[in-house]
Subunit: 333 residues, 4 copies
């Protein structure tokens, strides 16, 4: 379903080529100052235009249309919309006949009986990640002391610069690994069953298009270590550990050390290279290549999205633990 | 919260040393034949006793106490309980003073203010995975044609036999990688936001103790491939792909090919090796070693648990799509 | 939270004086033809302008902005927005100083710490019922054979015409009783715990502003009957009953007879009569009268809203039972 | 589904004739002292045996089997079970052939395809209200200052004593009206959409078998009053109102005045009087009378159940507002 969260609760709407995409956030405390400018940095970090990302450029100015009054949140559901100004529908008509490999064309068609909005991947579009980024801006505001950051570790299995050069030389799309960290988390967020911190983060992370894997702490490398090597010795009464192989989560619960996880982003499905797929009308396998504006490396956009979804999860967990007041600032007091 | 699922919905209860652990399943169709024997194989696959698993042996006979009548499900919530016969509480008193590294002792204490049932890790215990296995047995029953299987790919980064020999020689605990596959899935399970197949599977997978990572299809390796290498060409009208690097999921939706994913299981925290941690009473860092019955390699138990949680997710998705009748067999017709 | 429903799931947004109010519906089957005209009759039934309702007139043309393509639903979340054209904010500034009796001024202020959008009651406004009506139009579409109707039984305790004459003569606001019925329901909708048909209907009914009570079948009158008088004898194999004192629900489950319930609508809080309340600044109790455009009898608008919320519940229950296909019409077949 | 609540969350299990009935409560704060004796008074208030209630007597001793350690709650899900000792299955075999009027025999059979546990109404049994009472005991504990009480207003439309005399004389079952009140509620519990206080209370109230209606404040009588008569003037800065026709809830939100509501309980379906229904085997309408142990007036048991479900809702709302700590008492501080 299009909702996520228990107390800080988001709902996502829109398609690549509808009038707008948007996000509704229920449970936002009242009294939080909120300006269009608050979104600027994170939206810019996500936007296309740099080497390896699509030249399609939306203006991406958020319209905060409900839940706000006199530049402050009211406590009512917050709606943030982004207009879709820059639509070129004609690019997509071709893929009605030949479903693109590793693209949603085929599954969307079968799931929705042919009624899906196929333009720009419709509701599956990476365009919707702008909504996650916007919700992340709100979440970050209420997380106060907690600092969340994210960076690209590798592109095409190489140092990011090297990886991108490879992609451009090969005229082929590439993927990458992105890491996210959160500092100053309180001990005790998360539940043993079924809402471990990893459960909630991975749930929302796999809503980001193109994610193929996630690992916490040392992750898959943990399987090569002995227990005595992997275990994190506790060295003070606040729970600080000597090493942080667990990535800040033990038993599904934050342990007060830095939260660390990494995600694998697959190479963009829309590679400029020639590919094969079946033509639904002729029943023949055809070779074709994808035109249009597409990111060569979608991983480049992922860091700010990853921060956003992590913030969304943490804001919810902080509210569940009663660590965030429902009234951010009380005018009556 | 202790619930998972939308229509096929589980709730989990119990601690390592309470009278029993158990699972409640709501939404089970009525009229499914159900016998104690149905659980035997999967419970046996999970049980300790083999090389690398703990010698603690529970009898593990399920009591199906509600939702059943004349050996068939009634449509009311199903309750399955497992007695905890084999408790040795005394083992655990020590860890009240010295929280074990990478164990829940510390976080549970802080989260619950010192009131947690610390015996055998309480509600965090691996013992509770027996409940997941039991729910998996029910889920598998209603999944009919869909075949789910799981196997260990590596132990300690090596071939499983080799990895276990290493562990025994080193007298240290080890982890491993476990793979799960599901065949004959219909096209169209899962949602773009926020209930992708990967989102739901990873959500419940990270409820299994000791999981550190999950990847679908080629997973993290995807980040080293070009798009033209990674993409799966569609070669027939049923959506069969030439390769299956996507692991059967595109855009969060099953594409009719085999579902494939792998999880990283960390080395058991309770290694026999000497370790360091802080003593909460003396404030000093002490060296100590863990006694008691513990698995040297918890990954050995994971395959059947992984099948179970995957079945739980798939049963729910199949019900959501209306592909499983609420009355399994209608006596009135 | 601002969501309701399990498979057919609505989220509501907006305030009386925000740019728009709107509703998001997740889980709508794909392939349903949808036109602006489909909303016309029900929106008109709800609109003000008749005797006893406010002269404020919105144009009330729905914008279906997401989840639709080529005039058919796509299966993605449907967003329906209504512009708020006819706002007169100045009316409301007064009530910041003197919270109106039986109005939300006071509770909203305390709940949201003074940051609530108080104009026109903000998110509490009766304006938001237009969203419920719109969702009802969609729900009715997928309910096919099921016929839902609603009518006013009494105004001010009298025959409706008489009751309104009384109100106009007295220059005071009045309430009323509204009944809703649904025919052709299948047997078996609803759950014993906690989602009985009455539970779900009353849950959403009490979201309609001004509702003070609800009763099913003979309702409160049942308390005056003997069991032998109240019981409904079953007279055929389809479950038809001789009488229908139960209003079509037994044990929380539809029994195949007509669903019947009634709601009590209180007199509009905004009566033209002089009233008393405390002035928050002077701390003195003042006498004042409410200006502005208000319904003398809000009950007049309730029938179509009641049909709508009933349809929403029934559509959800029908989907849960697998009685409504996720693809309304399959283009591929 | 068999769950209710967002943070204080209950799941209900069992049938009249299964080994036990029970309730699971997730989200209970840790550190709450809990003894068997705590349940005694409320369980006794509910039990049969007095004039007008069934002579069936269960021992009704709660087994608190999970979530407790050293007589205090641990923060893990709490399980409370009640054995079903006093089962007489033979009574019920008859009703397989002739579904009792206004009883669940018919709908349960159709909903579950003939596989329902029909003994003693199975999962629909009034027996399960003992679980609600037990959860209410926990909820009351964490509600501290908030005082919840309930009483019978009328039986058979008369003063309670008179109503019962009538029933005994007529040898027929009767219903009644029960009122519930809660004092010392904070202002601001509840949400405008869709979780108004009335929405949540009515949702769970209609899970109690035999409830036919609910009204808040003056309820249906409100429809006979003018607005100027019905409105509650606010007379101090804490929101105290001169009258309390609204029953402590305005706009779905508690206003700090006493919460007041009433429910209509229908006459027990199992009247000793002769009745008619169709025989499923002969297809003929037969006259018959119900044997076995049944309450002449089920309303007599309702007060404590009503208090319980109200407490459950209020505990959840208090936790959502962050007014109840997740650790009831912190041992570490």
């Amino acid at each position: 379903m299009n909702n996520f969260g228990r107390l800080f609760r988001i709902s996502i709407i829109g398609e690549s080529h509808s009038d707008f995409v948007g996000i509704i956030i229920d449970g936002v405390p009242s009294g939080i100052p909120l300006f269009i400018e608050d979104f600027e940095i994170d939206l810019k970090r996500r936007i296309g235009g740099s080497l390896g990302t699509t030249p399609r450029k939306e203006k991406d100015i958020p319209s905060i249309t409900t839940g706000i009054f006199n530049k402050k949140t009211t406590g009512a559901p917050l709606t943030i919309l982004f207009e879709n100004n820059n639509k070129r529908s004609s690019d997509y008509e071709t893929y009605r006949k030949i479903p693109r490999p590793s693209h949603v064309d085929f599954v969307a068609n079968r799931k929705y009986g042919g009624f899906e909005d196929y333009r720009g991947s419709g509701h599956f579009s990476g365009r919707l990640t702008i909504c996650l980024v916007a919700a992340g801006v709100i979440a970050k505001k209420i997380l106060d002391e907690i600092k969340i950051s994210s960076k690209i570790l590798s592109i095409a299995g190489e140092d990011p610069d090297m990886g991108l050069s490879l992609a451009i030389a090969a005229k082929d799309s590439v993927g990458g690994i992105v890491e996210c960290r959160a500092e100053n988390l309180p001990i005790g967020l998360g539940e043993p069953f079924f809402d471990s911190v990893e459960s909630l983060i991975s749930h929302i992370v796999f809503s980001i298009p193109s994610i193929r894997g996630i690992e916490f702490g040392v992750g898959f490398e943990a399987t090569k270590l002995f227990g005595s090597e992997h275990n994190d010795s506790i060295i003070d009464l606040k729970g600080k550990t000597e090493t942080n192989h667990s990535g800040g989560v033990v038993g599904g619960i934050t342990n007060g050390n830095e939260l660390i996880f990494r995600v694998a982003v697959k190479p963009t499905a829309s590679t400029p290279k020639s590919q094969k797929s079946i033509n639904w009308q002729s029943y023949e396998i055809e070779e074709f290549s994808i035109k249009g504006r597409h990111d060569l490396c979608i991983a480049l956009r992922v860091p700010v999205i990853l921060e956003a979804v992590t913030s969304i999860v943490l804001a919810d967990l902080m509210m569940i633990e009663g660590k965030i007041k429902r009234i951010y600032e009380d005018r009556n007091n």
